[in-house]
């Protein structure tokens, strides 16, 4: 009786959302797969079907290879920084140090800011003439270390990676902190009775129990690295440059290079990478759940 009455709500309540989702998500997604099989420039009316030619072209595209290599660099470099940092900060914050609220605010605030704010701030810090980084190096007598941070690949990739870590760190700290707070006190007491010091407790109690959080964190990080666009686009003013990634190359190819078909194929590649890598990470990191 109850369900029969409630079913009258399906149409009026579900339809508006469903229509929006169909028009602004499902339809363009389907079209993206179709575009990726054409040589459409974006200007002509007809879209010529060319099968998988765009994907064959992608396979031999040197710029695309550089872009993917750069993503791999950002991904690994950023992870090597963000993972230990967020874990360390969470462990310290869990013990409620003085000013914990203020520290959390400072760590988390960048996460809430628009990516454009991060780009302008770090773009200014790395500026070779007025930038805070070169100025500080000069002030402390490390003049020879100063350089145009965004000009050379070896310096630009880590420089932008650090900006990404700065913006993303807060999320991971909060996640680790929540994971730590779920671990019952009695576990530490038991470990203490067995003679484990704080160091051993970290490795033998905390880290194994945080495995689920680590898994979420890795997936989130991988997804963000593959989709990287706005930060690099704004910092480098939208021009092709040494920090090219899949997102910036795709944008350039579609809007400046007039090859919507090829750009859509790169979009499909990005989607496949996001899906494939997150499934892979989940599979590699899968483990028996620990009950506590």
């Amino acid at each position: 009786m109850l369900q029969r009455e409630l079913r009258k709500l399906i149409l009026p309540l579900l339809l508006p959302g469903l229509l929006l989702h169909l028009v602004f998500f499902a339809l363009p997604v389907l079209n993206a797969f179709y575009y990726s099989l054409t040589s459409w420039s974006g200007i002509t009316l007809e879209k010529e079907f060319i099968g998988l030619d765009n994907f064959a072209r992608a396979f031999g595209d040197r710029t695309l290879q550089t872009a993917l290599a750069n993503i791999l660099f950002f991904g690994i470099f950023g992870f090597v920084l963000v993972f230990p940092l967020s874990l360390l900060f969470a462990v310290v914050l869990e013990e409620n140090p003085p000013f914990a609220r203020l520290l959390k605010f400072v760590i988390f605030a960048p996460t809430l800011l628009s990516v454009v704010v991060t780009a302008v701030l770090w773009g200014s810090i790395y500026n070779p003439v007025i930038g805070l980084l070169n100025e500080t190096l000069r002030a402390i007598g490390l003049e020879e270390w100063t350089q145009p941070w965004l000009g050379r690949r070896g310096a630009a990739l880590p420089a932008i990676g650090i900006a990404m870590v700065w913006q993303g760190l807060g999320t991971y700290v909060i996640l680790f902190l929540a994971g730590l707070q779920k671990i019952p006190r009695s576990f530490y007491e038991a470990a203490q009775l067995d003679g484990a010091d704080a160091w051993q407790q970290f490795w033998l109690v905390k880290l194994p129990l945080l495995w689920d959080v680590v898994q979420i964190l890795v997936v989130l990080w991988v997804i963000n690295a593959v989709q990287a666009f706005a930060l690099i686009f704004v910092i480098t003013r939208g021009y092709p440059n040494v920090t090219e990634v899949l997102g910036t190359y795709l944008y350039w190819a579609g809007f400046q290079g007039q090859s919507i078909g090829y750009a859509s194929a790169m979009g499909v590649i990005m989607f496949a990478l996001v899906l494939g890598l997150s499934l892979l990470v989940n599979r590699l990191m899968r483990r028996e759940a620990i009950e506590y």
Binding site: Q3, L20, A32, S114, S124, V129, L177, V226, V234, V274
Partner: protein, 278 residues
């Protein structure tokens, strides 16, 4: 043994203190530089302003039109938040509480969007929006925002609606309320804590949104804050007018900092709940 742990902890605390201090100094640098004159700034990057020059703010707000963008962003974010939260709550209620065929399929159809990069459907969506005359239009951006907010809203609110006891709808329906009234007068008000959390997150994401306003807006008068700041950065850094740029940066940054200060616990709790459930 304990000594080693203590020493490590000391190092960790020092390191975190150093990180937070650097981060705070960088943000403070932007704020106080926004009060300097360009001449002062070029004389010394680090020095404090000799006086509080509000003229940079006047320039950013009026001449560079950040005030105009502020208005655009505020009303677009507010409308998009209201639309997304409401339409999402309606769908979430049906998907969580009503049994019907393909219910799970419909739910996953919405949630799938959280795994799909915007870059995949960027070009087809752009072409489609142009056909509908929705490019370079606030209406187009608004409809897109409402639609974009649905997956997250539905994800959180289906979880919320499932926790409410069955007896609530039963009691309302048995008392003779129509199903329509039961939803609007009984169930939706009960979901208020969930709605508020979702609305805060939606608002922040719309306020910060950059990608689609870059793609869809061409005329300066329609720009949002994020789009306006990007243009300001590209223009003013070429002209070396850093102090005015930083005033613009503060205008974009400040409202969110204030919101975060007021709602810190709520935002961190909401983030944790959202991410750990997924």
């Amino acid at each position: 043994m304990e000594a080693r742990a203590k020493a490590l902890k000391g190092v960790a605390v020092l390191f975190m203190g150093f990180y937070c201090l650097s981060s705070a100094v960088a943000l403070a640098w932007v704020v106080y530089t926004s009060f300097k004159s360009n001449a002062e700034f070029f004389a010394s990057t680090w020095s404090l302003p000799s006086q509080l020059r509000w003229s940079n703010y006047a320039y950013a707000w009026a001449n560079a039109e950040m005030g105009h963008y502020f208005f655009n962003t505020t009303y677009l974010s507010a409308l998009a938040t209201a639309g997304s939260t409401l339409v999402g709550a309606m769908a979430a209620f049906v998907l969580a509480r009503v049994v019907f065929p393909f219910r799970q399929v419909a739910l996953y159809f919405f949630l799938a969007a959280m795994m799909v990069p915007a870059m995949l459907y960027l070009f087809p969506l752009f072409v489609q929006m142009r056909h509908l005359h929705l490019t370079n239009s606030h209406l187009g951006l608004l409809l897109l925002y409402v639609s974009m907010g649905l997956p997250f809203t539905i994800f959180v609110l289906t979880g919320f609606f499932r926790t409410l006891p069955r007896e609530l709808e039963e009691a309302a329906l048995i008392d003779g309320a129509s199903p329509w009234k039961t939803f609007w007068m009984v169930m939706l008000p009960l979901a208020r804590p969930g709605l508020v959390t979702v609305a805060i997150f939606n608002f922040i994401s719309f306020w910060n949104e950059f990608f689609w306003s870059l793609i869809l807006l061409h005329s300066g008068r329609l720009y949002t804050l994020a789009r306006g700041l990007q243009t300001l950065f590209w223009n003013l850094s070429t002209e070396s007018r850093w102090t005015e740029l930083f005033a613009g940066l503060v205008i974009v940054m400040l409202p969110l900092m204030v919101v975060f200060m007021l709602l810190q616990d709520r935002i961190t709790a909401g983030l944790t709940a959202g991410a750990l459930k997924g």
